[in-house]
Symmetry: C2
């Protein structure tokens, strides 16, 4: 996110109060690994139409870890917002992050795809 600290504070006031956060605020938010390296930013969030649960963050990696500028899918449940960093920390090893699949229609149409992604990150699927 390329906003100044002041702008971020304004946005927090407007879009993140109590337990809710707006999808607009999630978009463009930085992603960090456990060591605090900046990996990229959230490009979009994918919502399960039936249950209304956020399933994936689609993240654009910035080249760190040798991951090219591709749209990768991360299960929403592996992201934790870190107020000090002003971004999400991904609870996963670098090795797992490198294996994060590219997000695309063909992947989503494969019913086993969701199981594989959540299995990779060691979290229950969003539909459970």
């Amino acid at each position: 996110m390329q906003t100044s600290m002041e702008n971020r504070q304004d946005r927090l006031k407007k879009d993140e109060t109590g337990s809710l956060i707006s999808a607009d605020k999630v978009h463009g938010t930085d992603i960090y690994n456990r060591r605090g390296d900046n990996l990229g930013e959230v490009e979009n969030v994918m919502i399960d139409k039936r249950t209304g649960k956020v399933a994936y963050a689609v993240v654009t990696f910035g080249g760190f870890l040798g991951i090219g500028a591709e749209r990768r899918a991360l299960p929403w449940s592996v992201l934790t917002y870190d107020v000090e960093k002003g971004g999400y920390v991904v609870d996963a090893t670098d090795d797992v992050l490198r294996q994060a699949p590219v997000y695309g229609v063909e992947a989503e149409n494969d019913p086993e795809w969701g199981n594989r992604v959540h299995g990779l990150f060691g979290v229950p699927p969003y539909w459970h």
Copy 2:
């Protein structure tokens, strides 16, 4: 949404496959009442940080029903996507829609606010 039918089809291919929909696609999507009147469009979606569930659609009404161009909150569960209309139908009477609360920080900080909004629309709160 001011896109042509062709653009909408392209976006559907890219952002809405299977059971998932991107927040980007939800933004700007038209909202209709039960009779098919265009009420306005979705400006944002509010996500519950703890559970990852979409709580509210923040909708900008366009003056229909005498509702001014304000950001109003609708429980996500009262919206159903209508493929033919290319937008969401709100399952509520005009009278209920007129009472939809303006979305703001002060409302969100009130713990009873969520109960009142969901009660107005006759749906269980998103945290149930």
